[in-house]
Symmetry: C2
Subunit: 292 residues, 2 copies
């Protein structure tokens, strides 16, 4: 990350009473966050930014974040000219960042690097698996029956995402049992990586209502027919995952189930996924409370 | 995602011979990717973009990606005016995206949503755990001994990231044994979520060389002393994780170890992490080959 402009080179003239400092809040890591919201012309912004950088430098501030809504793209260029670089973007805004100290190493946290996806293994008491054919994607029109899959939203617990995707695609209500395995892959979207969690869910309803926009067909299919498909048999990673599913329903495998635990330090509650042994999940609730 | 401009409204005058179409490559999902590299004035770009959108629409193209290096920020505004929105950004570029079909639902993949971090549990034969004190972060100066932790890079296998972080922070060489548990948390960086993988590594060397820029101290500490710290005892999630580590080294717990498997469909090799039972990892290599 280059610091092309030295923020100490602010001209005294710019520090006249006409130059307003940018409003900033602390980021809890020795830096500040500037959230721009009102229209401003690029020159005024550049002056304010230079004066503010000088002030922050004197105060020992390290990282500086600037969040620009899409309406204020005219302020990108002046920020880049001061040495800022792109950190991340979402549909409605761009986040720029700058490191004030004259050190080669900065502690600006990396941008999110992974997408998180789930695949749901849902089997009824007659050893029938819930499967779908997708309208889009690489398997479209190939007649392949696959497990319901989907992307976990940011802010969403992955087992909640699994339940949601199954409900959306098939109308089936489920409860989470275990993460059976997970796979990491790379360059899934441009340079980004992906984590795919294979989840065992227990069905709570059985009448299928497929999502017409994304799903061509949905069905309960005997597990042996599902396994016998060339797509599964000729694909080492899917063959392996389906064998894990089979072993789990036959009682000879355990994955990771979830426990909701508090971090006193960050004052937050999060799910920990771990191997709780081959217990009945209905009795796990009481066990979870004992552990937490 | 709003499509504020209808790309079919291109004026015939714009389609004169002076308007050059933007160079684009297919994205394998019915869309195109435009990678801008040469300087262009905003008006010329706007005309080319409108003409290209009209052409792509006629060809049934769905998603349109435009990658703008930081040198071409002057082209952001015209793209936004055609209805593009921000998809993601990296230090050197901004990616914009647009959905041509007149459908409410688009299949533009979501941006990366998660950071991936690892914590490394490394224990020697004398039940001493490799621990560090960090120079930065919330634990700075509190005297807390913690496991080495770090962020997995995009494109990096998480167990490789664990080995790398331990080597960087402490100079200790290790080999990967298992993912013992993982935790998902939210709003770790602005709105992004985080997955933290607790990894069991086996030490291959024992002489500590700490990383001076990030680590205040590194040591081998008796596991009972490590567990007895108030930071561990008063923090449900860390107490739980350390108990899992203890159970694993005592042989009463198994996590997920890795198998390198091929997806014939995507023609890629990826690691699958799954419960391979309480086997010695040195004998696992041959077993992995049998399975794959």
């Amino acid at each position: 990350m280059s610091n092309s402009t030295n923020s100490s080179s602010v001209e005294p003239a710019l520090l006249s009473e006409n130059v307003q400092m940018l409003a900033a809040v602390d980021d809890d890591h020795g830096g500040v966050i500037v959230e721009m919201s009102k229209p401003m012309d690029a020159e005024t912004f550049a002056s304010s930014l230079r004066a503010s950088l000088s002030d922050w430098k004197n105060k020992g501030i390290k990282g500086v974040w600037i969040k620009l809504p899409r309406e204020l793209v005219n302020l990108i260029q002046p920020a880049l000219e001061e040495g800022f670089w792109f950190h991340h973007a979402e549909p409605s805004y761009l986040m720029l960042v700058y490191w004030i100290p004259n050190t080669e190493h900065n502690t600006i946290p990396a941008n999110a690097s992974h997408k998180v996806r789930i695949g749901a293994f849902v089997m009824d008491d007659r050893r029938q698996v819930l499967v779908v054919q997708e309208k889009n994607g690489k398997l479209r029109g190939l007649g392949v029956w696959k497990l319901p899959t989907g992307t976990v939203d940011e802010g969403e617990d992955l087992h909640v995402g699994a339940l949601r995707e199954v409900k959306e695609e098939t109308g089936i209500d489920t409860e989470f049992v275990e993460v059976l395995a997970f796979r990491q892959s790379h360059k899934s979207l441009f340079e980004k990586s992906e984590l795919f969690f294979l989840c065992l869910l227990r069905p709570l309803s059985f009448e299928i209502q497929r999502q017409e926009s994304e799903i061509d067909a949905a069905a309960w299919m005997p597990i042996d027919d599902f396994k016998a498909q060339p797509f599964v048999q000729n694909n080492d990673i899917w063959k392996h995952m389906v064998e894990i599913c089979s072993a789990r329903v036959d009682g000879s495998y355990t994955g990771f189930s979830s426990t909701y635990l508090r971090s006193t330090f960050t004052d937050s509650w999060n799910y920990l996924y771990w191997n709780q042994g081959n217990r009945d999940p209905h009795s796990r609730a009481s066990n979870m409370n004992n552990n937490s």
